[in-house]
Amino acid sequence: MPDTKITNGNNLGFWVHEIYMQLAYCYIYDELIKPQYSITNKDDMLYSIQFHINGYSTGIMSLGWEIYTNSQSDKQMIISVLQAVKTNLQNKGAFISITELQAIPTEDDDFKIYYRDPFPTYQLIKIVDALIEIIQGAWTSTNYSMDIAYK
């Protein structure tokens, strides 16, 4: 399965395998869609995330949030979303159950084939934490390889 470099436009970011980013997108989507988050072009952002979740971007996945983080307020709002995602994940306990993973709506069959073991929540939180740092501009590495311990 391909890997993807997650950046916010510049070279700063990290490498992670797409299948894990795809899972992170699922939880980001669930949170972002909530009405309390008001972001310019929110509809486009949801569309783009769902595009990834459905596996249309397999092999070419990216973040592409530059256009949603132009304003300080949008940027702050997205950070709020990510922090809420992190809290939600923490509340799930150590693992996300197989039942929950298999119930995630996606058109990508490979996604369902892959997630047949409980997923360690901490590994997903690592990704969300890194995303928060990237949006905040605190991330400094250009080629960090994020190893996800699963399977």
Partner: protein, 1111 residues
Amino acid sequence: MPTNTTTLAILKDGTPIRIHLFENPAFDVDGFLIQFTKPGTQPEIYRYHQHSEFKGEDRKKPDLTGYYNESLFLKYIQNTEPVPTLDKLIKHDFKNNLAFEGEEITVSTIDFDSPYDYFYNTKNYTFNLQLSPDKRGVANYRKLIMENYRIVDSKINTDGHIPVIVLNNQSATPGGYFFKKNLGDFINNWAISEIQKSTFKRIMSLIVFKIREINRDIIPIIATNTHFFDKEFNVANGIKDYNDFTDLEKLLFNFKRTWGYYYDTPINGLPRPHKDDFEALFSIPSTYEDYYSYYSSLENFYQICYKTKNLSYYPADDKIEYLLKILSPSALAVIPYNLIIKAIKAYFPLKLSQEDQRVLVKLVISITPSHANEFLDFLLEKENGAETNFQVIYDTLTDARLERYPFVNWFVDEQTNRKYFAFAIYELWKVSKYNLDYIRPGIVIPNPWPNFKGIDPENYFYINSQEFNKKNFLTFIPSSDQQIVTSQQRFESSINDKKIDITKIYKQNTYAGAFSQHKIGSEYFGSFHLYQQISFCGYESNLDLRIPKSATLPAFLFHFIEEYDRLVDFDAGVALAANLTVDALLIYFTGGTSILKDLQYLKYTTKIGRALAGGIESTEAIEIWRGFRGASDIFTLTAGSLTQINHYLITTENNEEKRKILEGCQKIFISLTFLGVGLSLTAQAHAVREAGKVLDLIEALPPGVAHGLAPEMINLLTTLKGSKEVTLSLFGNKLNTLDLGDATNYIFLKYNSVFTDAQRLKFMTDFQHIDDLAFWRLLNNGRNASGIRDGKYLDNWISLSERGLEEAKFTIYICNQTRTDVLIRFTDQSTLKPVINPLSFERKIAFLNTFADVDPVNFAKFVGDPTLVKKWFRYYDDLVFQPEFKALGETGMLKFAERYGNISDDAFRNLKLQWHKINLNDKFKRLVEFPDATDNMLYFNKRRCEMLPPSFGDIATKGLYRIHETDSFIKLELQFNGVARASLIDEAGDIIMQGGILDRMSLDPLGIKFDLPQKMAQQQDINRFYNNWLGAYVPDQKSSGFLGSIHAHFEKIYLPKNGKPPLDYIVIDYKYFDEISTAIEQQPYYLKNQIDQFIIQNFNQYTNQLIKLNY
């Protein structure tokens, strides 16, 4: 191990290095460096070791192959305390020894070309090292040799350079003697190509070099603490007696003598038995496999002895015992036969542990075909005076079903010692004097019969015909699935001295309410020499069995099979006749002439056969016909007449009409020969029918053309024809009196007024033996479409019978309209009939049931490609695959079989293996999901199967590669003539290419998922979807979608991921670009141009590391 004096050398991986700081470099026959010594106060030997030489538990680690400090490696492999772990081994790093462009190298290889009887010359290639194609360093000089897309070997790439031949005549060395005796003396008499001769010379040279290594490294170890070296030349020179040797010393002496170490040119008047000659291991009939097998034996012998810790300190007897225990059967082949027999006898009086049983079986397996007769005779001897050695060994072995034996690779699952024993004896029996089908190479049989290849004049049963029990046709009747009557006939056996006693068991159950009956009984059938052939018909076959190769098998093997009822576990070579569900003669008369070669011994074992061949006193009366009316209906001819008739039968006839008469007579005599072995019903019917035909042919001969038949033959023909009328009337009478209840007797009606004479005869043959009324009532119960009884099943019988289909005999077919119809549908196709007909009873039913309502498109696929049947069975027969396969449905199964029916056995096995959570079901779904390949279909389908885990999986995520990625990998292989493997964790890219012009390069493809154009076309807002997919890239500002991904991929070259080397090539797969362009209502080349432009603008400096696929 040849040596040379160059200061440069090529490593086994093809890297050129400097070796001026090393000493004693050694090279293999292809010129690769395989050993060297690092000088110093304590010189260190480094030796090349392949992945497979490491301990099993370490082999899962990558990149083990290399040059290791030999002293440490030996401790590691011999487990010598303190045992070094893998990470403590010292692998030489050649980075400071790399050679440079322009340096001169001389590569020395062995010359395997002409003269082929000469050992040996070297070919020296001298050239200057070149730069690699990517100009990053010196070129790699390993050239892979591919066959069927697999790497089979490698050599040093000396293309374009002319060698200098250096003479190195070794004809007066032991190796030279061995070479001459075992190949040189006769290779030029072989009518084979130059390339084949070169191949033989190569393997023989490898054998000689391996023997030298054994003599140098292994013999001294085994000879430690013996007086072998003091005695060997005294014995060789006749000064000391051979029997002064201990057994171990004899073993060593025999090794070396066979290898030519004591040979010297004979001196007149001074005979030296051990020096003047030595036994040849190979001769004119030897095949390449024989040579290769011996080489493997030597290699195994070397490796095992080399790896065994402290072997030199073992006591002498223990060494022999140990060698016998540790050596594989193939390595045991180098040990003298008499020592093997001595070791086997040592086990006789003992009750053996499983471990010792395994050793005993292994010893038996190691007996080579050249000792087959000797060993089979040994088994018939009685070492203890009471029981044959066969029985002693057989009874010694127990049934350890759960044991696993790594030393034999014939079987894949748990086996029993007895099974190994039976199989090993069977292998020897096949090439022994006891097998009537085996003719020694070079023996020419005079005047063989038509279709009969003849018999070896030294065959045991030919010479001792009184020991051959000719009543050896065992007719099994499997339990039928008719609801009313089931009947069964089978055989049981027991060992009795040198014979197998066989008992017939029969059973018949009639289920008819109050009239139900259950009959069972047994009777002595016959006694058979252990090694005599017996034949089957009707043995209930198993779905797992494959096509039989022979119709007979020796009695001892039958006993084994009967005892264990595990025929299914035997490999196809032993499956034999078990698939035959109809008798042999019927197969012959429906076109299976090849069956006769398996039954040819009948000619020599039946009285009529021997009389025909002139082997019986000419005045003796031979009964050749016993008609249906019993003792009053016997026809005899004198043996002399039969010999005369035989002269007629074996003549060659050019006249078309007369040739038909001759063939008819031959068929009659084949039938008559069968009469002696219990096939009376079928044989009589065929003899009668053919007699009528022959007489008709004689009558139709043009005026003036004489038939040429002897009066006795005409007399016989007339008798046979006359017999028909009586017979048919008698049978018709029986049919007319059947009690069919209130129903009209359609059986008699059709028999009497619809059937032709030939059909009546055939009908009688098929059903005469059935007395059960329930059967006849069922056969009479056929109805038309309106449900009215009309004898339809009799019509079905005619339909199948006239087509020559054996199924006409079975009510499971003719009393089932759908099955009859579908059978006709398939077998009426000339391409399919030869494929469907040979299927076993059960497999045919399974196939026809599955495709009973096959739609016309799928049916046309079968017609167009009859191999599809076999491909379908490949998955259907396999009980692991079957549920998933059947779940695909009719069309799905056929599509799957079309694509993947031909994949290699390795790929087939790989499909079954679970990898993490990826199971068979996932792999099936994946293979179905692939779009149809549009070019190189065979290769694509094959590699799609092979590129599945565990043999090919994404190691980083333990997941599957995506479909479009896999196809990009395959396309790359095709385009660049290499083989891809998955990248390891610390390697760049998705794949590493092996071989071809991208050898060892890392590649990372990106492309379009195959269903994306379709998904795009289904969108309400196509442009929004497209733009989202395409994304954007502005340096340091934006990077998303496809464009962003191109950027990320180029980054892997100049800003590699942490912990990975830079990527060698990015690959953009342009497949589906046209479709995407069309979906957004642009010209087909639109996207292609856009992407090309994008790359030129942003990454122009890296385009030499960009590969465009499907461009």
